[in-house]
């Protein structure tokens, strides 16, 4: 089975984009875009090219990711399979957040449905049922009969106390990443450093960016920020996180980071720059794992990370072309999108 997965990942990795290919995609005539997308396994995006609906583009990108994940998951069993399937659930967590926000705002289901992500074979929620909840409390009740029951029950109580939508988002996000770390642990034992590196790049980036945002954008007290972070793992152990949350500025947080991490961030001054640096580092690590003889699951995971990054950038190019932005403007946006900004 590992031979199958390795071969499949190697074949898929041919579909990844280089910076030159992105530059070409920005500049080629409209008529050639569908073919260019199809050549890189993006037939579904090519078929919808020219459409004006950004939600539809987003949906097709996620559908593509889920479709490739479905193929990669086929030979997997046990914790490996659970981990990759769980990796797709962040889209479903996003659905839960969309549903909660929409119900808080009293939106009608007709405007809500197009914004929900179709999880296809990975779906665990009956969206058809959930969208018809009349208010947020009813939605909570319905969610308590889903696999998200534990997270939601907890979030509901917190929400009842404060009625702060931020609590819901933060609780859901944190619970998701805690679950990811929990599921990665047995795999890290088998796959060793490559898998640990990939997870570290995701969790450390998430923790550092959340820390900076919660602390300096939302102005939350250190204790609360610390609680909202993903438990101490990888390069950010509990003591380090406790030290970082008590810092009083972005610069002092960066200065208090371990030297290796500080070097990665280079001269980053803002939260955005921090994110960009860590994102670039994560992509580089994923590329190294993908082109190594690492544990097959680690290679598959690395591919999924890189593919998602690529598709985010493809989205920017296609939207830029649709909005008739200049090539330079799209190129510039692409640079930011590599960091997930656009």
């Amino acid at each position: 089975m590992s031979a199958y997965l390795n071969t499949r990942v190697s074949l898929y990795s041919e579909r990844l984009w280089t910076d030159e290919q992105f530059s070409r995609l920005i500049r080629i005539p409209h008529a050639e875009v569908p073919e260019s997308l199809t050549r890189r396994g993006l037939g579904a995006l090519a078929r919808g090219y020219g459409g004006s609906d950004p939600l539809s583009l987003e949906g097709r990108i996620i559908a593509q990711l889920l479709d490739e994940t479905r193929v990669l998951v086929r030979p997997l069993t046990g914790p490996d399979r659970q981990f990759i399937i769980y990796w797709t659930h962040r889209f479903e967590v996003s659905n839960v957040k969309t549903l909660l926000r929409a119900k808080m705002a009293g939106e009608r289901f007709t405007s809500l449905v197009p914004r929900l992500i179709d999880m296809g074979p990975f779906a665990r929620l009956d969206l058809e049922d959930l969208v018809h909840a009349d208010d947020v409390m009813e939605l909570f009740r319905r969610l308590e009969h889903t696999p998200y029951a534990d997270i939601v029950r907890h979030a509901r109580r917190a929400f009842e106390e404060s009625h702060d939508p931020f609590i819901l988002d933060a609780t859901l996000d944190r619970a998701y990443y805690e679950g990811l770390v929990h599921r990665a642990q047995p795999i890290e034992a088998a796959a060793g450093k490559p898998m640990r590196d990939l997870m570290a790049s995701i969790i450390d980036r998430t923790n550092l960016v959340w820390l900076l945002r919660y602390r300096f954008n939302y102005d939350l007290p250190p204790a609360r920020v610390y609680y909202l972070l993903v438990g101490g793992h990888y390069r950010f152990q509990a003591e380090l996180l406790q030290r970082l949350v008590t810092q009083t500025s972005v610069e002092s947080v960066i200065a208090a980071l371990p030297p290796a991490l500080g070097r990665t961030l280079g001269g980053a001054r803002s939260i955005m720059e921090v994110f960009c640096s860590l994102e670039a580092e994560a992509a580089e690590r994923a590329r190294q794992v993908l082109h190594s003889a690492a544990y097959p699951l680690a290679r598959a995971f690395a591919y999924l990370i890189l593919r998602e990054r690529d598709l985010r950038r493809v989205r920017v190019v296609l939207r830029g072309r649709h909005l008739r932005l200049s090539d330079d403007a799209v190129e510039q946006a692409l640079g930011h999108t590599a960091c997930g900004v656009a």
Partner: protein, 634 residues
């Protein structure tokens, strides 16, 4: 029974304001299958909002019925009129308000239940708290310098919360655990501002109500809990009463809403299936059985008195693959349909193989598993199947009957061949003859599939394919010529030059047609032509030889019985009959199962795959809600 009923394509124009009633009328007749067709002249979906409102209202009604435990018995008067959008909106608004009332009631009931569970845990907690050497009334004083709180938090969050609280100068000290919850004291210096409230909320912290007299009066906790229990019992009673009151208060109107929604459903479904329109006009497009046209026209005329316009036409040749198939079967044939449907639905105009399947499947099963005793047991066992396996009862009993029939032909009862005289002969009596006969059956079956395929291709508007294709008439000629030639060869008469010439001519025609139909570079085209033509010929014979299994399994049946008898012969009387019994059970279960699958395989791979596309779509008309009939006078 052999093909789908002829349908007409109908385009029905009406006033958008009357669209709900038109849809209701069409649904009450149950003969209109709406179809989504893009039309630049008709850019709107005039019932889109109607559908959205309906879906919302319908979901709310279902929830109210479920919540209040009501059953909506819907009977519609013959002259019922579908609600307009405004009326539907009004119903939806009322249902929303009603649901909010019901929902609040439900929410309160859930809270009472939750509080009851919590109270049960508190009993033990108070007992422990009482043993602590502290006075809660002093500890929790709001004017104290110490900000102390007593409460519970999910146990999974304790470690993290403790670390976070430490950053704020607080300590967390657990003193009890119950059902995934940790009971703890949180204490730290009292400060101005938000403090730790946000953090505790985030962690799912819940304050614990502590009677002030807990330490000074040990009975206080018990009294408090008893008082709470009484309060919750009273609250539960009020909510129960409230629910009953809701049922009484809303019952009549809920029933009325059920009726109105049942009347609105046809248009909502038509809108979902692609109703189009423009400004004040709505256009229903779909398929209606040809023989129902007059009835539909008369009903429209009676109801709308010319305020509609209907265009009717036959299905166009290029849309045949999109026309739904309206199939009807006699009652006795229906149990076999799941086995045919698992392969597919016949396309419009295509030969419907249901009857052929039923006959051939049963006969093949009987021929491969011919035994009076085993067949009777299968019939008996199948007769016990009920409910969702009802269809299998008929299939099983018919297959068992065929097994009994072939049992008489082979002269076999539970493997004993001396109990009855065979009407023909035992398979093992002349295995060669059995095998030859099986090939003969295969030749006949393959010829039938080629004839049916030729017919299907004609009906699908592909006459050249029907005449010249390998699966059509040319393939049939090739097959018959080669089968006849090979038969002559085996009987010692030689292949025959005439048959050889016919076979060669047919093969060349098939090759030429394949060449003409292939669009590729010359080399690739030649390769495809050679391979496909050869494949046509080899497939025909491979499929024929596949029928050898019919004889092989009939021989296998006898051989298995002989093996059981041989084993039984070496045993005592009890062991003998036990072996016979168990051997027969194994034969019925194991071999019977294998034969059932093999017969199905022959039908699917040697039969259906040669002529049956199975790519059709079943005719699915607009209908009134399940269990609802129009015409009951209210």
């Amino acid at each position: 029974m052999f093909r789908a009923r002829p349908l007409n394509h109908v385009t029905l124009w009406c006033l958008a304001s009357e669209a709900p009633d038109v849809a209701l009328l069409l649904a009450s007749h149950g003969v209109f299958d709406p179809v989504a067709e893009e039309d630049a002249v008709l850019p709107d979906n005039p019932a889109e909002v109607y559908r959205d409102v309906f879906l919302e209202a319908d979901a709310r009604l279902s929830r109210i019925l479920e919540q209040c435990g009501m059953q909506a018995e819907v009977s519609l008067p013959a002259d019922a009129v579908a609600p307009s959008l405004a009326e539907l909106q009004e119903i939806n608004d009322w249902l929303r308000e009603t649901w909010q009332v019901c929902s609040r009631c439900k929410e309160s009931e859930l809270r009472v239940e939750e509080d009851r569970r919590r109270l049960a845990g508190l009993k033990e907690t108070y007992a422990r708290l009482q043993r602590l050497n502290l006075d809660p009334s002093r500890l929790l004083r709001p004017d104290s310098l110490l900000d102390a709180r007593l409460g519970q938090v999910p146990s999974a969050n304790v470690r993290r919360l403790r670390e976070a609280l430490a950053l704020a100068g607080y300590v967390l000290s657990p003193f009890d655990h119950a059902e995934g919850q940790t009971f703890a004291v949180v204490a730290g210096p009292r400060r101005e501002g938000e403090g730790i409230g946000g953090l505790l909320s985030q962690a799912g912290w819940r304050e614990l109500p502590v009677p002030a007299e807990l330490q000074t009066h040990p009975e206080a906790a018990r009294e408090y809990i008893e008082q709470e229990e009484r309060r919750l019992e009273a609250a539960a009673g009020i909510h129960r009463q409230e629910r009953v009151q809701n049922m009484i208060q809303f019952g009549e109107r809920v029933r009325d809403a059920s009726i109105r929604l049942a009347l609105a459903r046809p248009l909502a479904e038509a809108a979902g299936a692609g109703l189009r329109g423009r400004r004040h006009l709505a256009v229903f497009k779909g398929w209606v059985p040809r023989r129902a046209m007059d009835a539909v026209r008369a009903a429209l005329e009676e109801r709308f008195h010319g305020r509609y316009w209907m265009a009717v036409r036959e299905p166009a040749r290029d849309e045949l693959d999109r026309v739904p198939s309206l199939l009807s079967y006699p009652r006795w044939l229906r149990p076999f349909l799941p086995l045919v449907r698992s392969y597919g639905v016949p396309r419009y105009g295509e030969f419907d193989p249901a009857l052929l399947f039923a006959i051939a499947y049963v006969l093949l099963f009987g021929a491969m598993f011919g035994d009076v005793g085993h067949g009777a047991v299968i019939m008996l066992l199948a007769s016990f199947l009920r409910g969702r396996w009802n269809w299998l009862r008929v299939v099983g009993m018919t297959a068992g009957a065929a097994s009994v029939l072939f049992g008489f032909i082979y002269g076999s009862v539970f493997g004993y061949e001396e109990w009855i005289h065979p009407l023909w002969q035992s398979p093992l009596h002349d295995p060669g003859h059995m095998l030859a006969l099986a090939v003969g059956v295969g030749v006949g079956f393959i010829c039938l599939t080629l004839v049916l395929n030729t017919y299907n291709r004609f009906m699908a508007g592909r006459p050249w394919d029907a005449l010249l294709g390998g699966g059509g008439f040319a393939g049939l000629v090739l097959y018959l010529a080669m089968a006849s030639g090979l038969y002559s060869l085996f009987t010692g008469d030689g292949f025959g030059s005439g048959k050889g010439a016919v076979a060669t001519a047919a093969l060349l025609i098939i090759a030429a047609y394949t060449w003409a139909e292939t669009h590729a570079k010359p080399g690739e085209r030649a390769l495809i032509t050679v391979i496909e033509t050869l494949e046509t010929a080899t497939n025909l014979f491979a499929n024929t030889l596949s029928f050898l299994r019919v004889a092989a399994f009939s021989l296998n049946h006898v051989a298995l019985a002989l093996a059981v008898f041989t084993l039984a012969a070496g045993m005592s009387v009890a062991g003998h009959w036990l072996t016979i019994l168990l051997g027969n059970v194994v034969i019925i279960v194991l071999e019977g199962g294998i034969v059932a699958i093999q017969a199905l395989r022959l039908m699917y791979y040697e039969g259906f795959s040669r002529f049956f596309s199975g790519s059709g779509v079943e005719f699915s008309p607009l209908r009134l809600q399940r269990g609802v009939e129009l015409g009951v006078r209210s």
